[in-house]
């Protein structure tokens, strides 16, 4: 099967790229290795659409997405992506926390972001549910959150409506060069797909796929765990985080809270199917209750785990690979891919059609390591 662009990976990056390409009349085939669209980090993340706390190199991407895309995304995708832009509180309770938050804040201000340090009192003015434990916070009013599930499926739905051809359960094993250019994608079932450009956006798996054309990206899979609560009446709409990153999350439109966790043992999770640990949810509950005592009675209904592709320097690779003409890499999102996905999709579509990209991508070169 042929198309102008073959995208390997049906996550939100692949889907948003397919959407941007299909919208411009470019023929696309998207190959998803698992049975389900958006099965990796795309639907397994905390839904943050945030600028604060981000690596300065990534900031232009997310600032662009927030300014130009997120607000209209629900209409664009004919899907409620539940985007809320009501600020981000990153909470702390010790001097060390203050130091961490202050450092992040100063760096972001230098990049032109509207973010500042506030004290516990002001934090409680913004979010009255916060306990006295909270003594400091960074506050970025233009941050927010969205629903990763509907955003990912929305991009998929729209891309498909616009003519992008998705195939799931089609695990790519090899990229093959034809006369010096990456042109063919070969799958486990033996099928061959051919295109002028091949975009690899398969999370950690990208590593194995691009190694078949002699490329490597230094990254490792790291487990992420999340808990979801029952729905309760609306309490607050800010995105939350902590200086220690021991939990982060928000209340969704549905009324449930979604909290990402960090028990500290995630880097030692065994490879294979991502599975929840027996202790992480409990540990997170203790952390959440310390800052939000009024959530103590709320019931946890679900927990899940997923792999993220953590890059050596914690920012992604979004880059054409000149030494393998035709190959474009988009991986190593290091757990912050969701908020920037709308921008990344646009930029990748520009790379694939050899247009000048709206934003400079030189920080995300594949050969920076």
């Amino acid at each position: 099967m042929n198309a102008e662009v073959i995208i390997v990976g049906g996550g939100i990056i692949g889907c948003s790229t397919a959407y941007n390409l299909a919208k411009n009349g470019v023929s696309v085939i998207v190959l998803e290795g698992s049975e389900h669209i958006g099965n990796g980090g795309s639907t397994r993340n905390g839904g943050g659409v945030r600028q604060s706390g981000r690596d300065p190199r990534e900031l232009p991407l997310v600032m662009y997405a927030i300014k130009n895309i997120w607000k209209d995304l629900s209409d664009m995708l004919d899907t409620d992506v539940e985007y809320h832009q009501q600020g981000n509180l990153r909470l702390g309770s010790t001097d060390k926390h203050h130091q961490i938050l202050n450092g992040l804040t100063e760096r972001a201000i230098k990049c032109g972001l509207d973010v500042r340090m506030i004290d516990g009192y002001e934090a409680r003015q913004i979010n009255p549910y916060l306990s006295e434990e909270v003594t400091c916070a960074s506050w970025c009013p233009t941050d927010g959150h969205a629903n990763p599930l509907t955003a990912t499926m929305g991009y998929y739905k729209m891309a498909r409506r616009l003519g992008a051809h998705f195939i799931s359960g089609e695990k790519v094993t090899e990229i093959r060069k034809i006369k010096g250019k990456a042109r063919q994608v070969i799958t486990e079932s033996g099928n061959i797909y051919e295109g002028d450009k091949i975009i690899v956006a398969s999370g950690y798996e990208s590593r194995f796929i691009v190694s078949t054309v002699g490329i490597d990206v230094p990254m490792q899979p790291v487990l992420l765990e999340t808990l979801v609560t029952e729905a309760v009446a609306p309490m607050f709409w800010q995105m939350l985080g902590t200086a220690d990153a021991d939990f982060y999350g928000h209340q969704s439109n549905h009324g449930s809270f979604v909290f990402g966790l960090n028990s500290g043992y995630e880097p030692y999770a065994r490879p294979g199917k991502p599975v929840s640990s027996s202790i992480a949810v409990s540990a997170a509950c203790r952390g959440i209750m310390k800052y939000f005592p009024s959530l103590s009675d709320i019931k946890v209904v679900r927990s899940w785990a997923g792999w993220m592709d953590s890059c050596a320097d914690h920012i992604p690779v979004i880059s054409p690979v000149e030494e393998v003409p035709g190959l474009i890499l988009a991986c190593g999102f290091s757990g912050h891919g969701f908020g920037i996905a709308p921008a990344v999709g646009l930029l990748l579509s520009q790379l694939a059609t050899e247009q000048k990209t709206t934003l400079d991508l030189s920080e995300f070169r594949y050969n920076r390591f």
Partner: protein
């Protein structure tokens, strides 16, 4: 309606008669029986109205699975009344969406 005597089971072990309130009205039931049973015997069929369509719901599975019978109990929403034992003085309220207020059914936004 209570079964007074059953041909196979005889009579039932029941707790003390206790009072509780349902939407402010004082009702009686047996201590320790599921809240839903006390309500059912007091003629209460509707436990809640749903969030989106505002439709009535009551007992459905009676074993804590389906969560249709949830109500506000002592201020806590989403309490499965079919498996929560009745205690004296409990304040039980009809749940609207996820709230006790008919006007705010936990509507989004």
């Amino acid at each position: 309606m209570r079964i007074q005597e059953h041909p196979i089971l005889g009579t039932y072990d029941r707790g003390e008669i206790v009072s509780f309130t349902f939407d402010g009205k004082v009702l009686e039931g047996f201590e320790g029986e599921p809240i839903a049973m006390a309500l059912k015997n007091a003629g209460v069929m509707v436990h809640r109205y749903t969030k989106k369509e505002h439709k009535p719901r009551g007992i459905f599975c009676a074993i804590g699975r389906c969560t249709d019978c949830v109500m506000i109990v002592n201020g806590k929403p989403n309490v499965r009344t079919c498996i929560t034992p009745l205690e004296a003085g409990m304040e039980i309220c009809t749940q609207y969406g996820v709230s006790a207020e008919p006007s705010n059914g936990g509507e989004k936004k």
